[in-house]
Each structure stands twice: as C-alpha cells, then as structure tokens.
Amino acid sequence: MSEEKEPVLGEPGEHPLSVFLFSWMRTPLFKIVVTWSLVVIGAALIGLEMLLAFRPIKDVTYAPGFQGVFGFVAFAFAVLSGWPLGKMLRRPEGYYDKRSGEAGRDD
C-alpha cells in the first residue's frame, strides 16, 4: 500500500505565519499579477481623481494624475541614477581601514 504524499504549502521548516502571509509571493505569476494590478489600480486612481476631486487646471501640478506620473518618473530617476553613482562612489569594503599614512593610495 503506497502512502500518498499530502501537498505541503511553503517549505520544510517554514514558519506557519510565513506560509499564510507570504508563500503566495513565490508563485511564478506573482510579478505579472502585481505589475498589472498596479497598472489597473493606478488608472483607477486617476479616474477617481477626475471624478471626485477634479480641480480647475491652473498649472501642470493640477492635472489629474500629476502625482502618479511624478512618482513614477522620480522613482525611476532615483533608481537609475544608482548606476553612474555606484560606479563613481563605490569603493572596496575596508577602504578607510588603511591608516592615514597610506592615504591617497585608492587603487
């Protein structure tokens, strides 16, 4: 008589709370679902703003969706600036461990 394996949620040794709260995030569709959800929610928020909180447009900051577009651009700009900044400012761990007499030898 063969023993049937019961399907196990999560991983062996994983905390039950983690299984309950977070294991769904490891599914292959997670990124796609979240990304499209954010698109839909974002569009809905702009729609709701136009519907519930429309203001006469004095300048660009009054345009519906301004804060959304600004948030997207600002976030992307901050993150993408990490590429050149990292190259410019990153040094090996222990960079400052050299004593002062060795200052200047940055290689």
């Binding site: 994983e14 709260l21 979240v34 948030g71 976030f75």
Partner: protein
C-alpha cells in the same frame, strides 16, 4: 512620603529626571525582573509625571545657579509632544533590550533617553546646554558597545561632532546671554498664539553659533556623515536608541529657537533630496536607514523653517511618527543583525520564511514611513506637504519634498523589506527574533497603525491644537489628498516592478559608498601632507631670514613650555586638570557676566 507629596513631586518634576534616576540604578540590577522594572518602569513613571504636570507654559521647577534662574521644568504644547514621543521610545527601547545583559549599555541608553527628555522640558539655554552635552556623552556608549576597533574609531569621530556641536552651542549661549541677559526662552520673545517657538532672532549675538550647533546635531548637509558613520556600527539595540533621540532633540531645539527662519526651508529641502541617491546604492541596510533618517529630518527642518502653525504642527507630528516608525525599522534590522550577524543586503534575502513576525513589523514600518494612507507617516507628513504647497513661493521646495516622498518609498518602503526579507533566497534560515524584541516591535507597529487610523489621538497633543483639528476636519481625508498620495505610491511601486522586471534596478553589491566623510578620513591626511611640505619649505626660508629672532624665541619657549621646561616640571596631572577647568571656568564666567 504621603500620597499628596508624591503627587506633588510627580507634578512638578521634569519627567527626564525619573529616567535618569532609573539609569543610575540600572548597573545594580542583577536579574531580568529588576532590569525590566527599571527599564520600563522608569519611562512609565516619567509618563505619569508628564500627564500629571501641574500646568502648561509655567515654570514648575527652578533653581538658582551662579545668579541665574535655571528653569528645570517648563512643559508646554511643543515640548509635550516631543517629550511624549521620547518617553514612549525609551520604554520601547527598554523592552527591546531585555534579552541582553550589558549593564553599561543599558544604563547609558537610559541616561541618554533621560537627558533628551530633560532637554525638551527645561526652560532656559543653560539647562538645555547641560542636557545637550549629557546626550552627547551618554550616546557615544551605544556606538562603543560592540567593543571592536571599528566601533571605537567611529565613536571617536561621533564624539568630535557631538562635542563640536556642544561647543558651538555653548559659545553662542555665552555671547547671547552676555549681550541680552536672557536665558529663559519664555522671556526672550513670545511667538505665535502665545507659544514661544522661533524665539531667537538670527541676528542676535551668538545666534548663528547656536544654530550651527543645533545643525550639527540635526545632521545638516555636509555635517551629516557622523550619522551614517556611527549608527550602523552600534549594537542591534544601540542603533534603535540613537535613531530616536539625537536628531529629534535638534529638531525640537530648532523649532523652539529658530522656527520661521527661511534658511531652514532650503536646508531642509536639500536634506530631503540628497540622501535618496546615497540610499539607492548603499548595501548596508542600517546605513540605508541612516540616510533615510537624514531625509526624514529634512522634512521636519523644512517645516520648522516655514514656521506657520500648520508647519510647526507638521514638524512635531512628523517627529512623533518618525520616532515610532524609524525605531520600528531599526528594531527589525536589529533583529536581523542579532540573528544573522549582518545587515548587508548582498548577504540577505528570503528571511521571511523563518522570521515572519519581524517581516510583518518591518512592512508596517515601511508602509508608515512611505506615508501610505491609514499609517502614521501619512497623517504627519501631509501637514508638512500642505504647508509647503500653501505658499506659491515655495513651489520648488514642494517639488523637492514630493521627489523625496517617492525616494522614501524607494529606500525605506521597498528596498529595506524587499532585499532583507524577500528578493533572492540567501539560504539563511535564522530563528525568529526573541520575544522581547517582537513585543517592542509589535508595540511600535501598533502605534504606527493607531496614529494612522485615528490621527486625532496625535493631533490633540500638537503645539497648535486648534489648527491641527481644523486640518483634520477639512483637509486630511479629502478625496483629492488621499487619491493623490495613493497615486504617487502606486506609480512609484509600478516603476519598481518594471525596473526589476527589466533588470534595470542596480544589484546590491558589497562595497563602501564614499560621502563627505572622505574629506576628513582620506582627504585631510593627503592635504595635510601636501600643506606640511610647503609650510616646511616656507619655514626654512623664513627661518633663514629671521633665524636669530625665531631661534631665540623658540629657545625661550622651549625652556618655559617644553617637556623639561619649568611649566611642566613637578606639576601633577590632577593639578593640570584643575588648572584647565579653572581657566575654562574663568572664560565661561567672563563670557557670561562680562
């Protein structure tokens, strides 16, 4: 002692003194129970004292010192909210530290908290300076706690900045008091609606020095690096303690003395923006939080600079909320450090599997700091944003704050929890944090949610209660306000997903990010050597020309002050110390009474 006398003592004593007393008793506490009683009981008694204060905006405890009246206890609506936040934070730190047996660290942490609480409730500049210095000295032990050579070096650098701040404040106070004779803020100048905030004129003698001293402690741009240098080197509990008090005490002092000073608007705006870029590339998550702290204090400094009732309320509310959620985030990273030995993003990931409670609390802290509606950051930061938006002349500042808000989501809202608890699986399966740590994190998380869901609870303690309640009734929950904040966060989160998907998000790499500290840690020795060579050359030329005169003066000086000169001969160390103190005392007395 009768009940009446006890009640009288509680109602008329600076709450910080009760925590200082607990700190002095802590080294004698041998078991967990007595430590718990002191570490949580001290703040509890302080809270009772604060609630039962005999009145606001009156001197409740004074003492005569060198002919000056020192006001040891003068609570008002500005100090109340800062004091309340500090007392709650000290209780949280007490609970969070219970797993550890380190009498020195426990005691100095309480001393530090007590000094900070004392500082916000004193009513004069001299008492403020004394408490200010005590915070500097007590806090350095939190950085020394890991007891490694790195910590010692960082502690020395930290001390240089903190003592430097104290010296500037002292020099400024001496000049100010000598010129005006005023030490009590309530007597310097009344301010908005009878509440003494922004009482000091920047053109008054010594005011710029006092501002500079406050600025160092608030980690103004270019003098901010002591924060990123020291906090990540503190123990898992030390960083929590440090995050709660130092910079927020500076914000309180700025509000009390310099609210409405336009310089602060721009300094604050710069403070909110530049840390965003450093936080993106930083690998050590506690250092990311240190940059985030800079960014958040920038919002408060900016609000203090705007100086309207709404803005001062915003600064105070933001300080309160920030103390809670930043402590929560530092606590969660502290728990990770305690269990894994690291907070480097490149070495972490996937910890949610075995540390789900810590993950959950960290996510609540992240939601709060990101100003997600229904969490504490939203109800606090909104006032600062509204205050800056209300003035068309501050459009650039408002845009800077908006950018910084998206930046906060990046570094504290997403990067901290994502790279630590999710992201790639590091293979680490640490145990969940100790119960006392979870309890402290749970309490801080509950406060973040409570303030977010019921902002009236916090608003009732703000400096201008009527203005706060009006804002709550008419502005905070308007559809436009809430929807726009959601938009900012949702679209920023969408940017994160897309950047991750396209692999455009910079990978977390081991390494050290250089900042302005480079100038004194590497640049200074290089410059000193270069300057030294030239000075040496110049010296030889000069000494050739005036060799005879110089030589004689040098010889005479050597005979008097040299190691074998008569000044050094047979003078015991204690006498030298006493002489130094006497000289300092004479200078201080001269400055104060001239």
């Amino acid at each position: 002692m009768t009940i009446e006398r006890l009640a009288d003592l509680l109602a008329n004593t600076n709450p910080g003194f009760f925590i200082l007393a607990a700190a002095l008793l802590l080294p004698f506490a041998r078991d967990v129970a007595s430590r718990a009683i002191l570490m949580v009981g001290g703040p509890l008694v302080a809270l009772i004292a604060l609630i039962s204060a005999e009145g606001l905006s009156i001197n409740l405890q004074t003492v005569q010192f060198l002919g000056l009246e020192l006001v040891l206890y003068r609570p008002d609506s500005l100090s109340f909210v800062f004091g309340l936040a500090f007392i709650i934070a000290s209780a949280l730190v007490g609970v969070y530290s219970l797993h550890r047996r380190d009498a020195l660290q426990d005691s100095t942490a309480m001393l530090y908290a007590g000094a900070a609480i004392t500082a916000v409730f004193v009513g004069d500049l001299i008492s403020l300076f004394i408490a200010w210095e005590l915070t500097a000295i007590a806090s350095v032990f939190q950085i020394l706690a890991p007891r490694g050579p790195e910590s010692v070096r960082a502690a020395v650098r930290y001390l240089v900045f903190q003592i430097g701040s104290g010296m500037l404040v002292l020099a400024g106070i001496c000049m100010y008091v000598a010129a005006t004779g005023d030490t009590q803020f309530a007597l310097i100048a009344p301010s908005q609606a009878g509440l003494p905030v922004g009482v000091m004129d920047i053109n008054a003698p010594g005011a710029v020095l006092i501002l500079a001293g406050f600025g160092i402690k608030a980690a103004f741009p270019m003098v901010h690096n002591w924060l990123q240098d020291s906090y990540p080197r503190a123990s898992e509990t030390g960083a929590v303690v440090l995050s709660a008090f130092t910079t927020k005490l500076a914000v309180y002092a700025l509000a009390r003395y310099f609210a409405g000073l336009e310089w602060l608007i721009w300094i604050g705006a710069v403070m909110t923006v530049f840390p965003v870029f450093f936080a993106v590339i930083e690998n050590d998550l506690r250092k990311v939080l240190a940059y985030s702290l800079n960014n958040q204090v920038g919002f408060m400094v900016c609000a203090v600079g705007i100086g309207t009732q709404l803005a001062v309320n915003g600064a105070a509310a933001h300080a309160f909320a920030h103390i809670m959620y930043k402590a929560l985030l530092f606590m969660s990273m502290g728990a990770v450090l305690y269990r894994t030995g690291t907070t480097k993003a490149s070495e972490l990931g996937g910890l949610h599997r075995t540390m789900p409670w810590t993950t959950l609390f960290c996510l609540i802290g992240a939601a709060s700091i990101s100003a997600l509606p229904l969490f504490s950051g939203f109800v606090a930061k909104s006032m600062v944003m509204s205050a800056s938006h209300a003035d068309p002349a501050l459009f650039v500042v408002w845009i800077a704050l908006l950018f910084a808000s998206a930046g906060v989501l990046e570094h504290s809202g997403i990067k901290i929890p994502y790279f630590c608890f999710f992201s790639h699986d590091s293979g680490k399966r640490p145990q969940e944090a100790p119960f006392n740590m979870l309890l402290a994190m749970g309490a801080a998380a509950a406060l973040c949610i409570l303030v977010g869901l019921s902002p009236g609870w916090l608003y009732q303690f703000l400096p201008y209660q009527e203005a706060a309640m009006e804002y709550l009734a008419t502005d905070l929950w308007t559809a436009g306000h809430v929807l726009q904040q959601f938009q900012l966060l949702v679209f920023a989160a969408l940017a994160f997903m897309l950047l991750q998907w396209r692999r455009w998000y910079p990978a977390e790499k081991p390494g050290l990010i250089i900042d302005v500290e480079w100038f004194w840690r590497r640049g200074w020795p290089v410059m000193a050597r270069a300057v030294g060579k030239r000075v040496g050359k110049a010296g030889r030329v000069v000494s050739g020309a005036i060799g005879a005169v110089g030589g004689s003066a040098q010889l005479a000086a050597r005979q008097v002050f040299g190691p074998e000169g008569w000044v050094a001969a047979n003078v015991p160390l204690s006498a030298t110390a006493v002489l130094s103190l006497a000289i300092l005392g004479v200078v201080l007395a001269f400055s104060l009474f001239a």
